[in-house]
């Protein structure tokens, strides 16, 4: 087996807001009936977090569940556990209508950390990121610049962004440029 390397191999653009590629992360696309008890149970067993409500992400370290659409979840696990996690899901849901696929190597994860991280993202996405409407735990699939991406807030100073691996370099450069350009001052920033 060849050695797995993430899209940007942990590249960092340090600054007042730091953009950092997260390295390898296990990501599984799970499509199925999200109200199904078996599905909810296996997701929680794998990640230790509750199945998120519409438009939410529940994350804990490397693990988490993100609401992608009414019939789709993104299951986040440590990279080394992804293959086993798919096997576990397949065993648990056997006989029902579902699809689970390990997409870890097809995606990239980027952290945006710092005081005005909200504005770094807000400059690039057609999303209202005002603190009144977007809070830690909220999850949004949209676009960043010209490419599809999804993001959620881990805390007031941290966004986690996922995008396709093929556009990881573009997304990283875009976020880094937005961070370098500085704060706009649209949103009240935490002290």
């Amino acid at each position: 087996m060849s050695e797995a390397i993430s899209a940007l191999n942990g590249k960092v653009a340090a600054g007042e807001v730091t953009v950092r590629e997260a390295g390898l992360r296990g990501m599984i696309i799970l499509r199925g009936d999200l109200s199904d008890k078996k599905l909810r149970k296996v997701c929680t067993a794998l990640t230790g977090v509750k199945v998120p409500e519409q438009g939410q992400a529940n994350c804990d370290g490397d693990k988490g569940l993100c609401w992608m659409s009414p019939d789709e979840l993104l299951v986040l696990v440590p990279y080394a556990e992804a293959t086993q996690a798919v096997t576990t899901i397949e065993a648990a849901l056997s006989g029902t209508h579902f699809l689970a696929e390990n997409v870890s190597d097809a995606r990239a994860v980027i952290f945006v950390e710092g005081r005005f991280c909200r504005e770094v993202i807000a400059k690039l996405a057609p999303v209202d990121l005002h603190p009144d409407t977007f809070q830690p735990g909220d999850f949004r699939r949209t676009r960043l610049g010209q490419v599809a991406a999804a993001f959620w807030m881990l805390d007031e100073d941290t966004f986690e962004v996922i995008c396709f691996r093929s556009v990881a370099a573009y997304t990283f450069d875009l976020l880094a440029a937005s961070a370098k350009a500085g704060a706009v001052g649209m949103f009240p920033t935490p002290e």
């Binding site: 519409q54 438009g55 659409s69 009414p70 057609p126 999303v127 949004r140 699939r141 949209t142 676009r143």
Partner: protein, 104 residues
């Protein structure tokens, strides 16, 4: 700029998040239909000034198709609703009637 609320995500999606998919509530004419009906189904579209029903796809979001009722001249959006329906739901019709009495 048009902003439509995706009925599946519950988010206000910007026009650039969406993809327009043309007129809503078309009845498909398949094998066995007359040539005239098939031509109507394939090519003939309404082009109203006023109330219009459209299909949209939340392309950068959940990827689902939904329907929107809006006015083509003022860009007023009356509402969005699930694509799993043959005609606009009553609450949407009521909203349009409130804003555009006598619409058809």
């Amino acid at each position: 700029m048009l902003t439509l609320r995706c009925p599946y995500c519950g988010v206000d999606a910007d026009e650039t998040d969406l993809h327009g998919e043309g007129q809503a509530h078309l009845k498909r004419e398949g094998p066995g239909s007359s040539d005239e009906d098939f031509e109507d189904y394939l090519f003939m579209r309404e082009n109203p000034k006023g109330v219009h029903f459209e299909r949209w796809r939340h392309a950068y979001g959940c990827g689902k198709y939904f329907h929107a009722a809006r006015c083509t001249s003022t860009l007023q959006v009356f509402g969005t609703y699930s694509a799993q329906t043959l005609e606009p739901p009553q609450d949407i019709k009521d909203k349009i009637s409130g804003a555009r009495p006598g619409w058809s």
